[in-house]
Each structure stands twice: as C-alpha cells, then as structure tokens.
Symmetry: C2
Subunit: 260 residues, 2 copies
C-alpha cells in the first residue's frame, strides 16, 4: 500500500526541506518522491545532511515540469491546503485521509498523490483545483504555517497508521462495501476502475472547448465556471466508464453543433 503513495513537492526553494522530507518519508515507510519545478538544487550538502540516511530518495526522486506530469497516473490527488479559499473545496482531515487509504488503494492500479506547495506561498488555486480533495492539518490559528517537512511528516504518519491498521481493517474494510469518502469509486466492489488524473484533465479540456464553442463559456471572462465544474466532477471521483460517457456526450454535442 505505502509504495503506491507519492509525495509531490511543488516549487520547493530550500534543499534542506527536500532532505528533511526524504527523511520523514523514509521514517514512515514511503519512498515515492516527486519534485515539480524545484527552485533549488536537490542534491546539496544541506539536503543530504538533513536526509540523514534517506538521501537515496533524493537520487530516486522524479523530476517534473508540471503537477499534471507528476500525478498523471494518480487516481486520487490530495492537496495540502489551509482552510479558507475563495472557492470552498471538499476538505478532509489527515485522519480521514488515513482512514480512506486502505479501501482507496485496494485496487492494484490505484495511486494516491499527496501534493505540497511552496514554502512561502503554498499551492496556487490552479494547482488546488487539480485535486480531488484538500487536506487541512489542524494548526494554531495564531501560528498556522507548518514547515514543509513537518506537514509531510504528519500526513506520512497518518499513511503509516492506516497501513498498520490495514492488516485487519484493510482486509475487513475493503470488501465491506463501505466507501470511505462515501462516493468514491475506490472500493473493490465498484464496477469500473477510477479515472486517472490524465483522463480527467483530457475531459476538462474537452468540456471547456465545447462550452466555449456553444457560447456558454468565455475564456476571456471565465468567472469561476471551469473551477466550479472541476470541483463538481472531482468531488464525484468519476470512474473510467463515466469519463467515457461524459466525453461521448461532448462529442455528440460537437457533431450536432458543427463544433468540430
């Protein structure tokens, strides 16, 4: 289970933080580290010393130019976020995330990506809107900004607890038909595999083209239309057949409107 959980760091600016993240991950049994456009060197004396023995993760870490590339195969993308956003997004607690993982990862093709933003500015709205869920680590309102590695530590710890429980819980929970997120096609009893992030992004791109073609959407004046539609569909965790149906509808609309 743990080998299918990926820690994704976007635009990290301090090598020491990357090293400390590698250590936190290895402490908790995670090994899949993805770095998106780091704003610093990855292998430095500081990162290696902060990794204190986990520096192998700095070597095996994958480098990506974009979040989409780093999570293309992920079936659940969870972004670490502070609570208040202009557009509220489905928010879970670290404990809820852990509780969900055994069933979430019960399918062999399932991949979970936990996404962490920049030390100074976190994740952008564009990045947050690519996540199925946002996870908020409870903090003191007067002093709420966690160190990057500390945030990774907390979520990695919840992942480990969930993995330890999975011995009984996982075996029992998965076949029980109880879907942790209540809606996600992640349980073993679901009839179709979950759609991948890449499937969903292709659908959103197709949807925006069609909405623009029929004059419902103006990319020049987007308002929050695509963000709201993203939130709606990401909330539902469409499975692969559902995405095919939705894309088939878009193609049928294009044929009727000469949109293609």
């Amino acid at each position: 289970m743990l080998e299918r959980i990926r820690i994704v760091l976007i635009g990290t600016s301090h090598p020491g933080n990357i090293g400390a993240v590698a250590r936190a991950m290895k402490n908790m049994g995670l090994a899949d580290l993805a770095l998106v456009a780091p704003r610093c060197e990855v292998q430095t004396s500081e990162s290696i010393s902060r990794a204190s023995g986990a520096d192998a993760l700095l070597v095996t870490a994958s480098l990506h130019e974009s979040l989409d590339d780093a999570v293309a195969d992920a079936t659940l993308v969870v972004g670490a976020s502070a609570r208040s956003r202009t557009l509220p997004w489905p928010m879970i607690s670290p404990r809820q995330l852990g509780a969900a993982l055994p069933a979430e990862l019960s399918r062999r093709e399932a991949r979970v990506a936990l996404v962490f933003g920049r030390e100074d500015s976190g994740l952008t709205n564009t990045e947050l809107q690519r996540c199925h869920r946002h996870v908020h680590i409870p903090t003191n309102a007067e002093f709420s900004s966690l160190n990057l590695a500390a945030a990774v530590q907390v979520l990695s710890y919840e992942c480990r607890l969930a993995w330890l429980d999975a011995g009984e819980a996982g075996q029992a929970a998965a076949p029980s038909g109880e879907v942790p997120f209540g809606e996600a096609p992640c349980g073993v009893e679901w009839d179709n595999p979950p759609a991948s992030h890449a499937d969903l992004e292709r659908y959103f791109a197709h949807l925006e083209r069609v909405l623009t073609a029929i004059g419902f959407h103006d990319p020049e004046r987007p308002r929050q239309l695509m963000a709201r539609l993203r939130r709606l569909y990401l909330r539902a965790r469409p499975d692969s057949l559902e995405v095919s149906i939705l894309r088939g509808i878009l193609t049928a609309i294009e044929k009727r409107t000469g949109g293609r």
Copy 2:
C-alpha cells in the same frame, strides 16, 4: 436536528408494521413519518396497538403518491438497501450515516430522508436510483431480511446517537470543515446551499431530453446511461448553483441544436 429527519415508507402492506415504525421513531425522538402509496389502511386497531402510544404519528403522517413527492424538499436522500445491485451505488453503513448527520443538518434548510421499501420486495431500482446514498444494515448472510420496523429502529437509533453526540461533536464538527461524506456540500463552510431532490429531478429530466435530442440517448434502448449519470451526479451532491450551471449548459446546447 432530529425534527429534520424524515422516515419514508414505500408501499407498506401491513398496518402493524406502520404502527411499529411509529413507535420506533417516537422512541428515538423522530416524528416526521411519510407514507408513499401504502398498500394497507394506516389507522387500524393493529397499527394503533403496535404504535402503543405513538399513534399520534399515524395521524400526522403525510401521505404521498410518489417517492419524488415525499422527498421533494430533502437535501439528502438515503435508501435502505441490501448490498448487491446490478449497478453499484455509494453505500454507507448506519454508523457512517449517524456520523454524517450533525454536519449534514448543520444548514437550517437541510432535510434528510431515510427511505424504506416494501416488506416483500424492498425498493425498486428506480427508487434506489433517486437516492444520494444507499445504507446497508449488516445482517447474517444466511438470514438477511430485517423486519421493516427493525430496520427503521436501527437507523433511528443511529440518528439519536448522532444527535446526542452533536452536543459536542456537532458544534465542533460542523465548523471544522470536515465534510463527513468527503464531498457533500453539507458543511456550514460550503458556499451554496445543497440542491433539493426536486431541483435534481428537474435536471435529470432536462438532461435526458437533451441527450435524446442530440441522439446520444435512446429511451427505447436506455442501456444503463441515465442510471450511470444519476449515480455520478448524485454522488457529487450538487449544490444549487451547480445545478443552475448544469441546466444553463443544457439550455445553451438546446439553443445551438434547435433542440427546443
């Protein structure tokens, strides 16, 4: 909270069961009973005796010709169901249902309907496909069919436990931003009120008209298209603005295709 939870019985055939349901409800502090097309008289000596003091609920129970009518104002419709169905639906446990209620009912306009089927045949697929969630009461596989009032008792008990916990939990849980179903716009932090059952049914009717008009859907050969689309959208628990957006898209398609 409990006053906004409705017990809906469809096609009940035994007056004694209706009386026993009224008793179970009153025992647990529920009072909103809705009867859809009962196949027996409601106020009989048997129903009144089985209600043993809760017969006021038999008098105040609302009578409906259809499930849609009985749950039109409901913002969450949960159908009691056995597990295995041809089309898997988001399934929750009674405990998960209880845990979700405080935040689910944190909005004043929220209404939860718990729907129970016929003694002999339960809920039809059409009825089950009008539910956001299905709830399964764990039973012995060799002897799995619960008495109607027993099923109402179990879920009413979970409702009461949730209400008792809400003293602390509810106050704490609702503002915490943790959405029990992980996606439902039911928390106080959501930006729009949830759509009602009636809003959603108008959307599904509109969607089916448009899909038929553009030749994507053939009501003569429905396959599982509308059922799958219902499952997808009901899973997401669309809020009122999202339903307006979705209907606006359908209207825009109709204008472009002369579908209207």
